[in-house]
Amino acid sequence: MRPRVPAERYTGASVRRVEDERLLTGRGTFVADAHLPGMLHAAFHRSPLPHARIVAVNTEAARRAPGVVAVFDGAEMTQMASPVAALGAAPGSGGPVSFGILAMDKVRLVGDPVALVVAESRALAEDACELIVVEYEELAPVVTVEQALDPSLPAIFEELGGNRLFGPEVKVFGDVDGAFARADRVVRASIHQHRHQNVPMEGRAILASFDASSGQLLVRASTQGVNTTRQMLAQQLRMPLDRVRVVAEDVGGSFGLKFGASREEAACCAASRALGQPVRWVEDRWENLTVSGQAREESFEVEAAVTASGLILGLRVQMVIDSGAYPGFAPLVVDIVREMIPGPYRLGALSFSSSGVVTNKASYVAYRGPWAAETFVRERIVDLVAQELGISALEVRLRNLATRDEPPLRMVTGPSLAGITARESLLRAAEIVDLARFQERQLRLRDEGRYLGVGFATYIEPAPGPRQEGGEGNTEQVRVELDRDGLLLVHTAQMPHGQSHRTTLAQVAADEFGARLEQVRVMVGDSQQTPEGFGTGGSRFAAMAGGAALHGARRLRGKVLEAAAQILDLAPTDLDIWRGELVGPGVPGGGLPLAELISRIDLAARSGQLPPGVDVDLTATEDFDGGESGWSGGTHCCVVEVDPDTGLVRILRYLVVEDCGDLINPAVVDGQIRGGVAQGVGAVLLERSAYDPEGQYLSATLMDYLLPTALDVPHIEIEHLSPVRLDPDVNFRGVGEGGMIAAPPTICNAIADALSPFGAKVLEQHLPPARILELIGATSA
């Protein structure tokens, strides 16, 4: 009886965002906008040196400075909070590594926090920071991977006995030696991906407020997940979990940076507890660029065993990841890179060696598609194979991509490739860009001294990826409840910071329950109410949280119908909920508003009018693992023109053909894709976290770390493929990371194609004008 035609559903429509009215009128509340009575301000005294022993810290003058309430150095902070235990030290090494919340005996990067000043205003706190005098004994900086592997240089963590953090660890899949024995040719390349960083427009920030009488710590955080932040803070502050409450309101972007709690954030909480007053810290852009974290410095030695016709039989890969100063996320990344490197290709054999090192640079953090190196390396190698064999890159891709009707539809590393549409996306992209016509034009223009190039990259993104066989439940929990006003509350551990979840989750729940969109409130960002889940990341939202909301709304709807049927003495199958009303033949007045229905259910339950067994708890909690929804993926295609005189790259066309399943809100999906591609444009043409040979950071302002502007990012054409629907109910898939995963190899492949007449070989991802000129040979001495 319920209209099921798509036009009547919210899901699939670009409904306007519920977030926007606030944000467009300046009424968003970011941490820097929050004030509490008696609030104090934090600033950090930071190391000017990349690597040094701390001999003495003198904070006397700072303690006496105007407006200063307290100063804490590393030794004092150790009394107040536990050190951070880092993941990922090699089993054989002296590790595991742990380090203080503030630097104690050593500083390990420029910007390492040495002391925390708490004062009446941020300006006064910063003034006092300048009065702190630290005596250092300088140590040789370890800046590059080569230096990290040089045993003559000092160990950044003495307990590691060197600067190798883990590895080399080798894993082999399939018959690698056989593949190389059968190969007509071996294509070799050293491929490097440079350091980038997240640079959310709002940096890290925290407002910590400890209430001495209740022993409660209330934290306003800028985070991707309140549960994770709470857990880390409780652990570091040695507080029972139930004494820590983390809330988050608006979060000004993150892209992987704001998970858990940073050292600085933990320090502010410890300070608030010690002082019994609220303490706020809002990092400035220098801090954000210098110490918040950086990503993606990875090097690869690759050998590809190929046949003369372009079939890639096997790969041998050696990966080294530079985890920066304080180990954390890097070891997780190499595992995903290894598993994902076959991508949607029928690669038959893989040997993969991975190592990690520590250096005196900013710590490695997650950044949109953290494992993206696999796509970069694979898609570059595919083009290099094509170049060496003298066949087109399109041909090589088509020869190697897996097809759905050809078993085994599975990566050599294990995961199933069920439902992928990689081949369709590539063919469609080649068709839209009209490759044959383009190539004619390209040749013609070369005669005029103009250098155009076209590049493709095909990828898949585990969003959520195939169900892990025997894998232990990786689920997302959503609690759907009806409140007395007839509002449908959808509680999720997802913590939107730009992804529009307050809108999209409401769309899914409204459709499934039968509510009007305005009746749905998506509840996020309060650890006291938030269900289980680590937060927003890994493109988990659409399939996992969306699916949990769908199933939760469905179950709650069933409960409501059951109870309503009892009250009205009708059959549940005769009833429906549509646009926020109970409807059906026999429903009084033709429709009963939800609020009224709920109060009648409540009354009936309390006066014992309902038979036992009718569930009147109008709440449904669902855990969902993403079902069979599988992979997102697609192909990007880019056309560039390179100016051989200036080295400038102009993007003439950028096209995305992608499949993220059923779209919940097309405008939101397209926004995620375009935002990701923009970051890829930045990564290739502009952005680099650069250090000098002494380990000083060179990109510490937005004039040095260049973000793309409205003039740098082209119009991005998007076409959505119709998906293979493998799940009976939930075929939305995540789309947060694909743009940033696929754009760098796509643009690099296009530039390499444009530079092919010069015999240039593109083995890196950062291609600013100076580098382009070097590749052309125009500036080589």
Binding site: A13, S14, V15, R16, R17, E19, D20, E21, R22, L23, L24, T25, G26, R27, G28, T29, F30, A32, D33, A123, V199, P200, M201, E202, D250, V251, G252, G253, F255, D284, R285, H497, G498, Q499, S500, P666, A667, V668, D670, G671, R674, G675, G676, V677, A678, Q679, T701, L702, M703, L707, T709, A710, L711, V713, H715, I716, I718, E719, H720
Partner: protein, 171 residues
């Protein structure tokens, strides 16, 4: 305000018109206009994304000109007219630009939003029917890390296109 007074220690009294209202306060010589608006007047809609004049999040209209409030000392704005993002909606009604940006899904996290709104308001005041290239150029000094700009540019263009509601983008 005489130079000597700006260099003096101690608070300086200033008065200015903010979003049509007379406002005043005592500021330190080093207090920026952004900090004054945010901390003393509670107008936290103006955001600080870099505090060195690059990102544009802090843009306000200072005597009708788009200005980076992180680079202006509050004391030097004494006697000026300031408009912030909070002043764009009138009597609870969103401006045409705000509505168009809502319809166009212009923003994601919303941190850069005030700067773009003010910059685009200034553009449209000067040039009510800009081309896409003109819009991109006018907004090229404002950074957004989320959107890739296309939705923002479309929002501005929708604000000057004929029909009021240009509809949300979708493919």
């Amino acid at each position: 305000m005489p130079e000597s007074e700006l260099g003096a220690r101690g608070p300086l009294p200033i008065r200015l018109e903010v979003n049509g209202e007379e406002r005043g306060g005592d500021v330190e010589a080093r207090t920026t206009l952004a900090d004054f608006l945010r901390d003393q007047l509670g107008l936290t809609g103006t955001h600080l994304g870099c505090e060195h004049g690059v990102c544009g999040a802090c843009t306000v209209l200072l005597d009708s000109l788009p200005t980076r409030s992180c680079l202006v000392l509050a004391a030097s704005a004494d006697g000026c007219r300031v408009e912030t993002v909070e002043g764009l909606a009138r009597d609870g009604q969103l401006s045409r630009l705000q509505r168009a940006m809502w319809d166009s899904h212009s923003f994601q996290c919303g941190f850069c939003t005030p700067g773009f709104l003010i910059q685009a308001t200034a553009l449209l005041a000067e040039n009510p029917t800009p081309t896409e290239a003109e819009v991109r150029h006018a907004l090229s000094g404002n950074l957004c890390r989320c959107t890739g700009y296309e939705s923002i540019v479309r929002g501005v263009l929708a604000a000057c296109a004929g029909p009021e509601r240009s509809g949300a983008e979708s493919k």
